[in-house]
C-alpha cells in the first residue's frame, strides 16, 4: 500500500496542525543522556558484527529478485503471489531460517462487471484501461491482471447525475452545502488525494450519494507534476490508481473476522453484515477518462482550491452530466500466503524482534512492494551469513513477507489477530518496510524508539552524499526552516495506517517502526500497471544503492535490538513528543472555540449575506453549537508524572556501571521496558472503533492514512463530540500513568 513518507509526514503536520506548536516544557534539569548502548552492549563486538553484515550486502541480489518477483501480476489469489511467497520462503530457509508459510482465508472481491458510461448530455464510452507501452516490458501482460478497480466497493448498477466533490472529504461537503448543492441520489466524482481513498465513498455515502468515481487529477498526479511515462516517471493519461476502499479506519483485515484470525474454520460474518465493506459502488478512473465527465458538468464553477490540472473549467454540477456505473464482483475467500522465517534467540528466545514487508502488489508492483521486500530479503540473507560464522542472535528474529496487504492489510492483520496474546507477551518490536525509493530516510513509529533510531541513522551513510542519513535529513529540515532542525535526535513521525505495522501498533500496542527512502524518486506509477521493473530501474533506485542502505539501517536496528542487554527503549524523547501532542490538542480546542465564536458572530452580523454576491448562490455556513471549556488538568498532571518517570529512568541508567546488572535483573527490566508502549493501549479502544486500542496514535477516522495523535481527544474536538473529549482526556491520562508506572518499575530495579 505504501505511501511516500514525505506525504505521510506532511499529512501528519497538516492533520495535527502542530508544525509550529511549542512543546510543553519538560521541566527536568537536563542531564547528559548516555548512548542507548553505553551500558547494555559491547559496542566493539557489535560494530564488528555490523561490519560483517554490511560486507555481504549485494545490490545485484535486489535487482535479480525484483526482476523475478515483479515479472507478473501478483495480487493475493494470483498464481504469482503464491509463487512469490514460496520464493521468499525458499530463500529464508536457505539462509538458515525456520520457515513456514502461514495461510489465512480472507474475503477479497475481484471484478466481474465494470462499466462506466457518460449517458447525458452526450454518450461517451470510456477507455477504462491502461495501454501497453513498448518502453515497458510487463505492460502488455493481460493474464491474471486485475483491471483498475477499488476493492471492497459494493456491487451496484446505478444511473444518476454527477457532482464534482473535490477530494470528497467532510470539509468539501460543507462547501457544497454553501453552494446549495446536495449529493443525495447523485454519483460523486472525486479527485484522488486529500485523504486516503476509502474516505471518499464513505463520506459520499454518509451524504446520500449512490455511487463514487475517483480519478487521478494531473495537478496532483500527472503532467502538472512532471513528464509522464514513458518520457518521465509521472502518471500518464490512462494510468489508473487501483486500491482498497474497505473502511479500514474502523478495522482493517478480513471484514468477516473482526478481531480474530481468518483461519479455515473461523466463524465468519455474512458479507452483508460486514460493517467495513463500502455501501455504494466505487470505481477509479484515469484523467483521460475524467476529462469528458468534467467537460459535461455545469452548475457553479468549482472553488479555486478544488480546481485540478485538466484543460477545462471545473464545474460542480449536479449534471447535466449523467453516468451509468455498473459494478459486480466475485466475492470469494482467497488464500493469503505469509512466508514467515525464524531464528530462535540463544539467550532470550521468548523476546521477539520482527521484520515484515508485504509481497503482494496490485499489478507487477515493482516499487510497491517489491523494492522493500528485496531489501528485507537481502537483510535476511546477510543475517544468514552471520549465522554461518557461528553467531547466534540473543533474541528471536522473525522475518515475514505479508500477503494481501493491498486489499486490506489482510496477511499481517490476520496474523496479529490470530497470535495476539503471544505477540503481546513476547514481541519487543515490529519493524516494517514497504515500497522504497531514493532520497531521504523516512522513519515513523513509536517514540520510545526515537533515540534508538537516531543512533543508527547518525551512523549509516547516505550512499550518494558522503554524510550520515541523519545529517542529510537535518540539512533538509534546515533548508525548510523547520524549528526541529537542531534537535539532537530528529523526530520520527507518528504512524497512522497505510502499511502492515497497523495491527501491531494500533491493535496489539507493540512498539513499531516504519522505514523507507523517498523524496527524490518522483513518479506516478502507484497502483498502476506501470509500477514495473522498467519504471523502477529508470526512475527510482535502479542501482539499489538505497535499497541496500535500507538493509544496513534495518540490519542494525534488528541486531542491536537483538543483542542489547537492556532494550534500547528511551522515554525522554517519547515524553517530548507526547508533550507536542498534548499542546497541539489544546491548541485545537482553542481553535475550535475561536472558529465557533467567529462564525456565529459573523452570522449574527449577517456578514455572509451582506458580503455575498447576489448573482451566485453561496449560503452562509451553519451555526455551530457552543464549545464547552475543557479541563486538561488531569492530563497535564499525568504528563508531569510521566515526564518525571522518563528522566528518573535516564538518571538511573546514567549511574549504572557496565556489567553490574545481574542476568535476572536484566530480564526483569526488559520485560517491563517492552511493555511500556503496550501500557498505553486501552481495551475499550476508540469511540466507534474499539479495534484501535492505542491511546496515543491512530489513523484518522476521516483521513485514513493520516495519523491523529491522542485520537480520542482530537477526533472528539473535530467531530464536536464534546463528551468524548472529556472522556479521552481521562483515558489518555490513565494511559500515561500506566506507562509511567512501568518506567518507574524499571528505574527502581536499576537503582536497587
Amino acid at each position: 500500500m505504501k505511501i511516500k513518507f514525505n506525504l505521510v509526514m506532511f499529512l501528519f503536520l497538516i492533520v495535527n496542525g502542530c508544525t509550529n506548536s511549542t512543546a510543553v516544557k519538560t521541566s527536568e534539569p537536563e542531564i547528559d543522556l548516555v548512548s542507548t548502548f553505553d551500558v547494555s552492549l559491547d559496542m566493539e563486538n557489535q560494530k564488528n558484527l555490523e561490519s560483517q553484515f554490511d560486507s555481504v550486502l549485494d545490490p545485484q541480489n535486489l535487482d535479480k529478485w525484483m526482476k523475478h518477483m515483479s515479472s507478473k501480476p501478483h495480487h493475493v489469489g494470483s498464481p504469482w503471489s503464491k509463487q512469490n511467497a514460496e520464493y521468499i520462503a525458499k530463500h529464508l530457509k536457505s539462509w538458515g531460517f525456520e520457515t513456514e508459510i502461514t495461510t489465512f482465508d480472507v474475503l477479497v472481491p475481484f471484478p466481474k462487471i465494470m462499466n462506466l458510461e457518460l449517458i447525458e448530455p452526450n454518450k461517451v464510452t470510456l477507455k477504462l484501461n491502461e495501454p501497453a507501452l513498448k518502453e515497458d516490458a510487463t505492460s502488455s501482460i493481460k493474464k491474471d491482471l486485475l483491471p483498475g478497480y477499488n476493492a471492497f466497493s459494493s456491487d451496484g448498477n446505478v444511473t444518476a447525475e454527477l457532482v464534482f466533490v473535490n477530494y470528497g472529504i467532510p470539509g468539501d461537503y460543507e462547501e457544497l452545502a454553501r453552494l446549495g448543492i446536495d449529493v443525495k441520489g447523485k454519483i460523486v466524482l472525486a479527485k484522488y488525494g486529500g485523504s486516503w481513498r476509502g474516505i471518499k465513498p464513505k463520506v459520499a455515502h454518509e451524504n446520500g450519494a449512490i455511487g463514487c468515481i475517483i480519478f487521478s487529477d494531473p495537478k496532483d498526479d500527472g503532467y502538472v507534476r512532471g513528464d509522464v511515462y514513458p518520457k518521465g516517471p509521472y502518471r500518464m493519461e490512462h494510468g489508473i490508481q487501483r486500491g482498497s476502499v474497505l473502511d479500514m479506519p474502523m478495522y482493517p483485515g478480513d471484514p468477516l473476522t473482526p478481531g480474530y484470525g481468518a483461519t479455515k474454520d473461523a466463524k465468519r460474518l455474512a458479507i452483508e453484515d460486514a460493517p467495513t465493506i463500502m455501501k455504494i459502488p466505487v470505481m477509479p478512473i484515469s484523467y483521460a477518462d475524467a476529462l469528458p465527465l468534467l467537460k459535461a458538468l455545469e452548475g457553479p464553477v468549482a472553488p479555486d482550491n478544488w480546481k485540478g490540472g485538466l484543460p477545462v473549467t471545473y464545474h460542480v454540477g449536479p449534471g447535466p452530466a449523467k453516468v451509468n456505473l455498473h459494478l459486480e464482483f466475485e466475492w470469494k475467500l482467497r488464500t493469503a500466503y505469509n512466508p514467515v522465517g525464524r531464528i530462535k534467540g540463544s539467550v532470550y528466545p521468548n523476546e521477539w524482534i520482527m521484520r515484515g514487508n508485504h509481497h503482494d502488489g496490485w499489478a507487477q508492483g515493482a516499487a510497491d512492494p517489491i523494492s522493500g521486500m528485496v531489501s528485507l530479503m537481502e537483510e535476511a540473507r546477510a543475517i544468514g551469513e552471520l549465522l554461518k560464522t557461528g553467531w547466534k542472535p540473543k533474541r528471536t528474529l522473525i522475518y515475514a513477507g505479508w500477503d494481501a496487504e493491498e486489499p486490506a492489510l489482510l496477511g499481517s492483520t490476520e496474523w496479529v489477530e490470530h497470535n495476539r496474546d503471544e505477540i503481546r507477551e513476547k514481541m519487543v518490536a515490529y519493524i516494517n518496510t514497504d515500497g522504497t525509493g531514493v532520497g531521504f530516510l523516512g522513519v515513523g513509529g513509536s517514540h520510545s524508539l526515537e533515540k534508538f533510531v537516531n543512533e543508527v541513522s547518525a551512523e549509516v551513510l547516505d550512499p550518494v552524499q558522503n554524510i550520515s542519513l541523519q545529517e542529510r535529513n537535518r540539512a533538509r529540515l534546515r533548508v525548510n526552516g523547520n524549528k526541529d532542525a537542531e534537535r539532537k535526535d530528529l523526530r520520527i513521525y507518528p504512524l497512522g495506517a497505510g502499511s502492515d505495522y497497523t495491527a501491531f501498533i494500533h491493535h496489539a500496542g507493540v512498539p513499531s517502526l516504519n522505514l523507507g527512502f523517498g523524496g527524490e524518486s518522483g513518479g506516478g506509477s502507484y497502483h498502476s500497471i506501470f509500477d514495473s521493473y522498467d519504471h523502477y530501474k529508470r526512475f527510482s533506485d535502479g542501482d539499489y544503492k538505497y535499497g541496500t542502505t535500507l538493509a544496513k539501517v534495518n540490519g542494525r536496528l534488528v541486531l542491536r535490538l537483538s543483542e542489547s542487554d537492556i532494550l534500547p527503549f528511551r522515554f525522554t524523547n517519547m515524553v517530548d513528543n507526547i508533550a507536542t501532542f498534548i499542546e497541539s490538542n489544546k491548541k485545537l480546542a482553542e481553535d475550535v472555540t475561536k472558529k465557533t465564536d467567529e462564525r456565529n458572530n459573523l452570522l449574527d452580523l449577517k456578514a455572509f449575506t451582506i458580503a455575498g454576491n447576489p448573482k451566485k448562490t453561496y449560503l452562509p455556513p451553519q451555526r455551530l453549537d457552543e464549545v464547552p471549556s475543557f479541563d486538561f488538568s488531569s492530563l497535564d498532571a499525568a504528563f508531569v508524572r510521566l515526564n518525571a518517570s522518563a528522566w528518573n529512568y535516564e538518571k538511573a541508567l546514567s549511574k549504572l556501571q557496565k556489567g553490574s546488572l545481574s542476568a535476572a535483573k536484566k530480564s526483569e527490566i526488559n520485560n517491563i521496558l517492552k511493555n511500556v508502549d503496550q501500557a498505553m493501549v486501552s481495551d475499550g479502544g476508540l469511540p466507534r472503533r474499539d479495534w484501535f486500542k492505542n491511546m496515543i496514535y491512530a489513523p484518522g477516522f476521516y483521513t485514513g492514512y493520516g495519523v491523529k495523535t491522542l485520537p480520542g481527544i482530537r477526533e472528539g474536538l473535530e467531530q464536536r463530540n464534546w463528551n468524548e473529549v472529556d472522556t479521552y482526556i481521562q483515558e489518555v491520562a490513565k494511559a500515561l500513568d500506566r506507562a509511567a508506572a512501568k518506567i518507574n518499575m524499571a528505574s527502581n530495579i536499576l537503582s536497587r
Copy 2:
C-alpha cells in the same frame, strides 16, 4: 489601463507585507472626532443639493453613451478617439461647462511588422490574432484596430532559444540562477501577472535577454478561472492582452518630453535617447499560441509555483524551442485630445476640484475605460442640472476626459506637467475613475481624505443590497477575518500607478483619490477586442446600477469638496496609516536581516548542497551581504510630532463654534490644508527616478502598478542599497515634519 481594485489591494498587501503589522500606537488620548462637515458645511442645504443631484441620474444615459463610444476602436490617434473626445466636449459644453479640447503631441508607436514563429524543434506559425464571434457585435471590426501588441517595445528581429521565466520578475531570475539557467542571448517567455507587464521585458533585458514574449496563462486569466467567452466572461483561448511596456516606474507620459508638456514646439529627446522605451522587442500572445511554445521546451521542470493551467508539463528550457521574433513599429507623434470642462467657483475660483477618466481604449474598450467615462459624464450632467437651478459651486470644478492613457498615461501626465505650477497652487484634490464594474466600492488615495471618503461611503447605498457601501465592504472584511473590519473608517488603499492619478499624486503631490466598483464582475476581456459593449452588458454592470452609484459617490465627493467652508482634510486617519507604513518598513528591515543571516548560516552549514538532489541542478543561492542596523529614531520622532499635530488640529476643530470663523481665516486655513499633502513631496524625488516626488507612496520600481509605501526606504531595503535606507529615513522624517508644520499652522489659525 485600470486594474481591478481588489487586485491592487492584494498587491499592496503582498508588496508591503503589512497584512498583520500592528500600527505604531497613536499615543494621544482619544477625543470624539467631529464629522468633517459639522463645522464647515450647512448639511441640510448640502443634502438637498445631493438629493437633487441623485434624482436626475439616469442609467439609460450610461448605456447609450457606452454603446456609442465603444462601437469602434478608439486608441489615441484613431479617428474614433478624436470623435469620442469631441463627443465628451460637446456634452460637457451642453451641460454648462466652459469646455476646450487641449492637445498634446506624444510619441506612440503602432505596429508595422509583427512576426513570431517557432522554428525549432518543429516549425509552427502562430495565429496571433483574435477571432470574430457571432455573439459579439464589434469583434468583427478590423478597421483601425490595433493588433495585440505591446506599446513601446523596441524594434527588432531576433532569433534565439526560449526560456520560460514564470512572471519574469526579479525573484524568478534568482530561481533561474539556482536552476543553473542564464537568459543571456535568449528570448524569455513570461506569463502575464505577478507584476505590471512592463517589468518583465525590463528585467529580462537587465539579465541579458534579447526578446520577450508575454502570454495570458489560463490559470491566471482563462478557463481555470471560469467559463470563457462567449459562454462566460473569461479570456478565451485566442484573447490577447495588449498593453504598454514603457518604463513608467521611471517616468510616465511622453518618453521624449520628461517633466514638461509635449506641446507642439516642445524640445524633444531623440527616440534613441529616451530612457523609458524598452530596449528589446516584446510581444503579447494568447494561451493558444503559448501552448506549442511550452510544448517545445525541455530542460528542468518548472518549479511548482511557476506552473500554469495549460495541459503540458511546464519546462524552463533553454530550448530546444527556438523562435524568431520580428517587430517593427511606426514611431510617430500622435495628437492626444483631452476634453476639459470647467465651472468657475463662485467663492473660491482659484481652488480647483478635478475629476478625470480616460477615454482612449486599446480596442473597443467598453469596460476599460468607457464604463468609468460614462459614469463621469452622468455625474457632470447632473451637476449641469444643478447649475440650471441657479446653484453655483463655491470652488472651480474641472471635468476631464484623458486621451492616450493606455500607452503611457500620456494625456493626463502631459497636462499635469504642462500646468504643474498652477496645479500645485490651485488644485485641492484630483478624483480619478477608470473602468468600473459590479460589487464592492474600492477606494485608493491620499489618506488625508480617508475620513472624508468614509463619510460618503457610509451614506450611499449599495444598489442591490439595501445597505451602505461602507457596511458592505465592512461585511467582506469581517468574512475575510481582516483585523481592520471594525475600524470606524475603513482603510483606503495607497495608490501605486495604473491610471491617470499618477502624475497628480506622485509628481505634483496633489491629494488624489481613485474609485471604482469591482469584485463581482469576473471576466477576462481586459485589453482584448472582447472588452466590448456586448461583454459588458452580459457580464458586468449591464444595467448601470453601479455606474450610477459611482456617480452618486463622486458627485458627493465633488460637491462637498466644493461647498465646505473648511476643506475636509483630516489627519488622524492619515497618521494612523503612516504609522502602519513605518511599522511595515521596520518589519521589512528585520525580515531582510533575518533572511540574510538564515541564508548565510545555511550556506556555512552547506545545507543546500547536502539536502540537494544529486540528480538535479539546484545550486545554493548566493551569499548575501550583511545588513547594517538602521536608525529609525529620527523618523519615529518626526512621526510623534506629526501625530501630535494631527490630534491638535482635531482638538482645535472640535472647539470651533459654527459660523465663528471669518472668511479670511477660512481662506487662510484652506490654503494651508490643501498643501499638507504637497508638503510631503520632495523635489529631489526618489533614487534613479526624480520624477516621482512623493515621499509617502510610489509605484514599485520592480512591481509597476504595485504601490510601495515610504518607497525610498522600502526599495532601499529591497534592493539592498543600505545608504539609501539611511538617506530616506531622513527624507521621510523631513517630509513628515513639513506636513506637521502645515497642520500646526492651520490649528493655530483655528485657535487664534
